[in-house]
């Protein structure tokens, strides 16, 4: 590795905790460079879920019997772990959802609908994943509010010079922004945007799907109003995500989905809502997945999120340097490792990214090719598709070397 990291994380030792790295693809050791899409899973997380299903499985918040008490305790302990991870002031502010997308939809379809109307403005950015873009389009359409998008420069850096003009267009109600672009890895100036939103009296919704997995995220220090992330990018299983929201806002907001679990009492002519956070958790929740998320958080905290962040930075710096050696390769996004996370998008001459990904697969190198659920961003930057390599705590420089070898082979096969 290039450069020493503060708490020196050893990715080779970490890999031993992830059973998937024992497998081979096309007769070669797996090189997994798609963690921005979903992370691999440590044995400790898998064991926690199998252990739960094997010993304590019962529905939560219902049974008075021992298993039901154990499962409820396990589910709620996961909530405490999430609150600790993101420094939430209260566990009542931690709502379990299916994923980031559902968490953002929850905000748009409850708080958003209640607070937006004609003459109001919703602000987002062209950097956003569709998950933090389409819900605001639908909200604008439903409420008559205006939707404005902050632009980026040609390397994907968010431009804030439109803010004053936007503020004159109406009451800014919601500012929805990503903590880190899933496509470019660039980290927009969230602090500045939050200060501006505060001055407008607007709520800030932060899509933290790309940052909660790999660096310390503190909702109080960020001073945002809502934050969303997914379990499956955080070493945890699919099917569980988190919405954190300020209690004062959630308390006065009507429910999202309705039915079981989220009620206090139901009569044929009236229903009262459960208290926070359960008011926003209709139906049987993903409690086994919550147990997995808890184990994943324990794992991340044991390694140290500062160490993971430093490791990703070092790997990204190494990757950018090595990619620079490949003739015809162009980085899409900032060319340096500053102010970015462990995600690198690139194109290679006029070879289509799908062909690159397919040939890399023959080298057991997993990368993502396409628009990465950010079509407006791709259009803004003038690409139909890019190849994206993304890194995590288990990524080694040897894997980056395998990527580079694969790219040289792409050049050979495609004749460029």
């Amino acid at each position: 590795m290039t450069g020493a990291t503060p708490q020196e994380l050893d990715p080779t030792r970490i890999r031993a905790d992830f059973p998937i790295f024992a497998r081979q693809v096309h007769g070669q050791d797996l090189v997994y460079l798609d963690s921005a899409s979903t992370s691999q899973k440590p044995q400790a997380m898998l064991d926690a879920m199998v252990g739960f299903y094997s010993t304590s499985n019962a529905n939560v918040h219902r049974g008075v019997y021992t298993l039901g008490v154990e499962s409820t305790d396990a589910y709620e302990a996961a909530r405490d772990a999430v609150a600790r991870l993101i420094n939430a002031p209260s566990r009542r502010e931690v709502v379990f959802t299916r994923n980031t997308t559902e968490a953002l939809n929850l905000v748009a379809k409850t708080v958003g609908v209640e607070r937006c109307g004609p003459g109001d403005v919703i602000v987002s950015t062209v950097l956003e994943h569709h998950a933090n873009l389409v819900p605001w389009q639908v909200l604008a359409q439903a409420t008559g509010a205006t939707l404005r998008f902050l632009d980026v420069d040609d390397e994907g850096r968010l431009q804030l010079d439109e803010l004053d003009a936007i503020a004159r267009e109406g009451n800014v109600r919601i500012v929805a922004v990503t903590h880190q672009s899933n496509t470019l890895g660039v980290r927009p100036p969230v602090e500045e945007l939050v200060r501006w939103a505060r001055a407008q009296g607007a709520l800030v919704v932060l899509d933290a799907a790309q940052t909660v997995p790999n660096r310390p995220v503190d909702v109080q220090a960020l001073d945002v109003d809502f934050l969303a992330f997914s379990g499956h990018k955080t070493l945890a299983p699919t099917g569980i995500g988190v919405l954190w929201g300020r209690e004062a806002i959630l308390a006065e907001t009507q429910p999202f989905l309705t039915g079981g679990e989220m009620i206090r009492s139901v009569a044929l002519d009236r229903t009262s809502w459960n208290t926070l956070p359960w008011k926003f958790e209709a139906g049987t929740p993903a409690f086994a997945e919550a147990v997995g998320l808890h184990a994943a958080i324990d794992y991340l905290e044991a390694v140290g999120l500062d160490a993971i962040d430093a490791h990703e930075h070092a790997i990204t710096e190494y990757a950018l340097g090595r990619l620079d050696e490949v003739t015809g390769l162009r980085i899409v996004g900032p060319p340096d490792a500053a102010a970015r996370g462990g995600v690198v998008s690139f194109v290679l001459d006029d070879v289509h990214p799908h062909d690159i990904a397919e040939i890399l697969d023959r080298h057991a190198v997993c990368v993502r090719a396409g628009h990465h659920c950010t079509q407006p961003l791709m259009q803004r930057l003038g690409h139909a598709a890019t190849v994206r390599a993304s890194f995590y705590l288990y990524t080694t420089t040897a894997e980056i070397d395998r990527l580079i070898d694969g790219l040289h082979d792409v050049r050979r096969v495609m004749g460029v």
């Binding site: 389009q137 799908h354 062909d355 397919e358 628009h371 139909a384 495609m414």
Partner: protein
Amino acid sequence: MDDLYRENLMDHYRHPRNHGTLEHPDCEAEGKNPLCGDEVELDVEVVDGRINAIRFTGNGCAVSQAATSMLTDLVQGLPVAEAAALPSQAIIDELGIPLSAMRVKCAVLGLGTLKVALHRGVGTPLPPEWGADDDEMVWG
């Protein structure tokens, strides 16, 4: 990877057959694969119920462009009803390489576009799975 990017495919990719446009096409359509951004545009001239001429332009991955090039060879001179009924497997067989489900979409992009073009131009049947999706949201 040489079994996938074999010579025949790369030859069609680098030197596409029937590339270009027709001045007065009887049928035309453009097709897109939104997942990866592959695009093809097809022009078809029909004489006596047969495909007399076919041209395409496009850009995208080697599989999508080579498959469309092979398709134009395959359907040249065919009765339109026969071309419109051509199964996906015909083009997959023509490529002669192993394709994952993701890449099958690339492989049949040209075929789907041809079916839409023939449907619009000469009214051949178009099963719903090949139809264009017009369900678009517009907000103010």
